[in-house]
């Protein structure tokens, strides 16, 4: 008779195999999640050490982001991020050095040349649209990008992300409405961590699942456990394929956890119970996924060490590189207010 362990492995294998994913795919996802986490943790250390004034990041959101980004064509498709999209922008092509350059606000920061706060990602080469701070404004942009893709027949789709609080903005609703009327190839992602800074979901909205709002716009809505990478991937794949087929937008709500305070300016102990802060550790997507990989026999101790050694080197390199890089010259500060004939 088959042992319990063997049966477990077989069930697990059938899970990712059913999605058409092999071990190497899962390891790639894990690598990005772990890289995002390591960079993210380093950012907080640097902030605490007084090397940078501010950090805002995505610890706890990595699983949702890896699942979604793995479902798109990362070269072809567009992404409109928000400040927690650390893992997502890495998967879209941004490098650890580029993220650190933005943290340190250095001239070479590809997102803004040191003009914006960290977390405001953008990169023309990777089709990551430049982002601002006002929550919600990115949603209509994604619809426009998708509309343009349709008109120009580029075959691209657009993924856009936001937090639960952001879904309260008019822009959010207006975007869903517009996109559904015109069947724009866009995937609306909400990374629902249950809080908007200190405001809990029950004071943000009267529904439990944001995905139910899709109904009001006549599009499919999915609620998925954002700590379960494969579950997110499965749902995102459906949404991406639907968009690609020209059938229009979908709304994907990933339930995630915010493992850190909102930002380095926040103290979450003031409004979140200690038990809650302890409990969310058990659904840390990185821990959950590692466990899956181990049980499926995809990652052993040696593989784990190999991945994490590589990541540590990359994070060290990025930190040193960005710290030593020069600040932007104030003489450049008046540039790019308007189009420049010879503007880089």
């Amino acid at each position: 008779m088959e042992s319990k362990e063997a049966r477990g492995v077989r069930e697990i294998e059938s899970r990712h195999q059913a999605l058409g994913l092999a071990g190497e795919h899962l390891l790639e996802m894990y690598y990005y999640m772990a890289l995002a986490r390591a960079l993210d943790e380093r950012m907080w250390v640097l902030q605490r050490a007084g090397k940078v004034p501010f950090v805002i990041s995505g610890q706890g959101h990595e699983g949702a982001q890896a699942g979604v980004m793995y479902a798109i064509d990362r070269d072809l498709d567009w992404f409109v991020p928000y400040y927690r999209s650390v893992c997502a922008v890495l998967m879209k092509g941004m490098t650890p050095r580029e993220l650190m350059l933005s943290l340190f606000a250095k001239a070479e920061d590809p997102s803004s040349g040191g003009r914006q706060m960290p977390g405001h990602y953008g990169h023309p080469r990777y089709k990551i649209l430049s982002t601002s701070s006002p929550v919600g404004t990115q949603y209509p942009h994604a619809v426009g990008i998708a509309y343009a893709a349709k008109v120009r027949k580029t075959g691209e789709i657009c993924v856009v992300s936001i937090g639960d609080g952001g879904t309260s903005q008019g822009d959010w609703h207006e975007a869903l409405n517009f996109a559904s009327i015109h069947r724009c190839p866009v995937v609306f992602v909400v990374e629902n961590n249950g809080y908007a800074i200190s405001v809990p979901q029950e004071l943000q909205m009267a529904v439990r699942d944001i995905a139910v709002r899709a109904q009001g716009y006549g599009i499919p809505g999915y609620t998925v456990d954002g700590s379960d990478v494969l579950a997110v991937y499965a749902v995102a794949k459906e949404a991406v394929e639907r968009a690609r087929r020209g059938e229009g937008p979908s709304l994907v709500e990933c339930k995630v956890v915010r493992l850190t305070a909102h930002s380095s300016d926040d103290r979450q102990e003031k409004y979140r119970p200690v038990e809650e802060l302890e409990a969310i550790r058990s659904v840390d997507p990185l821990v959950v996924f590692r466990h899956y990989l181990e049980r499926a026999g995809i990652m052993d101790e040696a593989k784990y060490t190999e991945i994490h050694t590589r990541i540590r080197e990359e994070v060290d390199d990025a930190t040193t590189y960005a710290e030593l890089a020069p600040y932007p010259d104030p003489l450049t500060a008046t540039r790019h207010v308007y189009f420049e004939e010879n503007g880089e």
Binding site: P53, F54, A105, K106, A107, S112, G114, R115, Q116, M117, H120, S132, S133, P134, V135, G136, G165, G166, S168, Q169, G170, D171, A196, I197, S198, V199, L203, Q204, M205, D265, D266, K270, Y271, Y327, P328, D329, P330, A333, T334, V337
Partner: protein, 327 residues
Amino acid sequence: MAELRLIDAINQALHEEMERDERVLVLGEDVGRKGGVFGATEGLYDRFGGERVIDTPLAESSIVGVAIGMAANGLLPVAEIQFADFIFPAMNQILSEAARMRYRSNGAFGCPLVIRAPYGGGVHGALYHSQSVEAFFAHIPGLKVVVPYHPGDAKGLLKASIRDPDPVLFFEHKKLYRMVRGEVPEGDYIVPLGKAAIRREGKDLSVFAYGLMLHEALVAAEEVAKEGIDAEVVDLRTLRPLDKETLLASVRKTNRALIVYEDNGFLGYGAELAAILAEEAFFDLDAPIMRVTGPEVPAVPYAPPLERWFMPDARRIAEAMRRLAQY
């Protein structure tokens, strides 16, 4: 009298007004359990409860729009916009609704509403946590605009704003929150809207400023005083309605005017001051009106050298004072 910081004075005014009048309530993002991202509403939730201290959804248009309705039906809402930079989703409600309610109803409906918002740069806030937005609102008849500098004023002006029958935009410079202390009278202390304050008397030139720039102007005035330039520093406090009398009287005395504001210069608030001086005090002026302002870029950049480049400060103001005094 207690020496308080600006943030404490605002907090005290809110506590006292909510205590005094149960129609007063506070609404905004994170104003409840967290006590506001800067702590301005600290303690209100515990004292007055969730019905009067509302953690709103993340949607500025509804924060202001709902407040307008509350005001129409007997409450006195104090809405907080977390950063002045995020007031724009509520622009339509403020300009089309709050500002025009009284006029369009021929006086039948009013809009007794206060909108508080931290503004200004110099705090590593970058493009979207540093803006000075006062000019957009001071432009609009029907709105009042207040920018306190002194903690005592912050209390007195906020109380006056809450009791004012019309909509008031109350902009607090976030860098001033914890920077300076000042005497704050206890109890029911009111500073009437529409009155400027002379912070430093002088005879050689007049400096007009508000908010953080007022602080920088005072520092600059002490600096040039060592060189024998005696500057008068006028704190405008209420940008609309403007205290024209104090403005004109000061220039009639000193015959020289320097206007300082942090926003970019073009069509900023100080442009109106310059126009008024040119129209009404032309023959009293011995020198061209001068301005020290932020540069013509859309907002304050983040990298420290760029942020320093943007921010007008005491050094730049002192330089302008010297040039003006030489005329």
